[in-house]
């Protein structure tokens, strides 16, 4: 199973409520997958680069992190949320910061101008509470609650997977050619961190975009190059995209009003969205790419 949700706000006045809306949508999808939950949320950006890191032992690993980073890189922003820490720093310090964080044994969850990623094992309700997701504002976001099939139930096996700056992917389904694709990507120098099939899907999309494809072209490419079942929702700096495999046995429903575009595995997730009774509600077609960008 797995439950996936996405929300793209057209109405900027709703931005402070993005985290609350997305969290409620994700909690409603809990019984599609109890193993882990995650959310990628896109804020306003413009403050440099944000790096989200995770530690299984935050009390030790985050102790002194601020001072160490400041010593090495100068003034940085640091916000700690449970097992995650979000660093904000000038774009030219990006690579130095990542090397330093990795050297300290921290896991990089995601990097980007606007994107922050929060994911852990556990139920959506508990994961959302740990990170206070409800209070986060933003322009768009995607979320996932996992029923694990292809790899272990761990923080790194949780979705969303980010394989390039401001890009991430959530997936309902399972890919059957992910090992082959992982090797193909590795030959091109694209390295994945886990044994997970979805990470390969994310890396495939990122590598296509890095090679010059548009988001739409990269999503079209998944239909050709990835084998298996998938309903994908991918987040980018400017919006989000949806694509389903040609068989389309993994559910998907979308809703659009003047205020937002919403995606979910099931209609239930939309029940509390404002104006849903008069929204345009439809099922995305198989093998058809949809995206919304600002």
């Amino acid at each position: 199973m797995c439950g996936i949700v996405g929300l793209f706000l057209k109405n900027d006045e709703m931005r402070p409520q993005l985290g609350a809306m997305l969290t409620d949508m994700l909690i409603t999808m809990t019984d599609r997958g109890p193993d882990s939950a995650g959310i990628a949320i896109y804020g306003t950006g413009g403050d440099g680069v944000k790096i989200t890191v995770q530690s299984d032992d935050p009390a030790t690993d985050f102790d002194g992190l601020d001072a160490a980073l400041t010593d090495a890189l100068g003034s940085i922003g640091l916000r700690i949320a449970d097992t995650h820490a979000i660093l904000t720093l000038p774009a030219d310090k990006r690579d130095a910061a990542i090397n330093l964080l990795k050297a300290r044994g921290l896991r990089i969850m995601g990097v980007g101008e606007a994107m922050e990623i929060y994911k852990e094992t556990g139920l959506p309700r508990d994961v959302a509470a740990r990170f206070n997701l409800r209070d986060m504002g933003g322009s768009h976001g995607i979320g996932h609650t996992r029923m694990a099939t292809e790899s272990a139930v761990t923080t790194l096996g949780a979705h969303p997977f980010s394989t390039a700056d401001d890009q991430c992917l959530v997936h309902n389904g399972s890919l059957s050619n992910h090992n082959q694709m992982r090797r193909r990507l590795a030959r091109k120098g694209v390295v994945t961190q886990t044994e997970n099939d979805t990470e390969v899907g994310a890396a495939y999309i990122s590598s296509r975009i890095a090679e010059g494809a548009t988001l739409g072209e990269a999503l079209e490419g998944t239909l050709e190059d990835l084998d298996g079942f998938f309903t994908f929702v991918t987040g980018t700096r400017n919006g989000f995209g949806v694509v389903r495999d040609p068989i389309a046995c993994k559910p998907a429903v979308m809703a659009e009003t003047g205020d937002y575009v919403a995606f979910a595995s099931e209609y239930r997730a939309f029940a509390d969205l404002p104006g849903i009774d008069t929204a345009k509600v439809w099922e995305p077609e198989p093998a058809t790419v949809y995206f919304w960008e600002r």
Binding site: A248, P251, E266, Y267, R268, F270, V281, E283, P286
Partner: protein
Amino acid sequence: MQSLDMAATDLREVNATLQAQAAQTNQTEWVIENPRGSHAVAVGLDAPIHVTVKGSTGYYCAGMNAQATVHVQGSVGPGVAENMMSGEVIIDGDASQYAGATGHGGLLNIKGNASSRCGISMKGIDIVVHGNIGHMSAFMAQKGNLVVLGDAGDALGDSLYEARLFVRGSVKSLGADCIEKEMRPEHLEILADLLTRAGADATPEEFRRYGSARKLYNFNIDHIDEY
């Protein structure tokens, strides 16, 4: 008019109440408020009652329906009216995958679109879709009528048995052993009756009929090596 509010009443209680209605009940008019996309709403009914669902539902709405009329004022998730025996299920919006799957009887009337696998393995149900249907619809359909006012997706009627398929719009592709067939007077009659019952704004002459070439499910001695 009896009302069941799903904001205050457990799904099982809602279904148990409706399932408990006797064939001679005086309480024939029911309304379900606040379905909020719930699964398995109004399933297993077996009495001539009329149930109006005020909003959209999730998986398996009106499954196994017999005698009852279930009218959903919204869209439905996968598997609406699965294995329906008799009665009528009306969907004002769209239906997701495998609408009317394995249905034995009754009328499933979808005012919007139905997605993939509509009428898969249907066994006598009549399905009228006012919009389009998705790929692999009427796969292995055995009996009954599928009427589509819009277009049909890929592989319509793959491995078809004896169900009749009527499509007004285009058919993206036909599945294995499904062919276009001549529209005879008795088919126009069946179609006219179904269109009237479904309140569809169309005339039988606008449709094309598709059915089984009967080559796949009949044993053919020339194909013995392929078995």
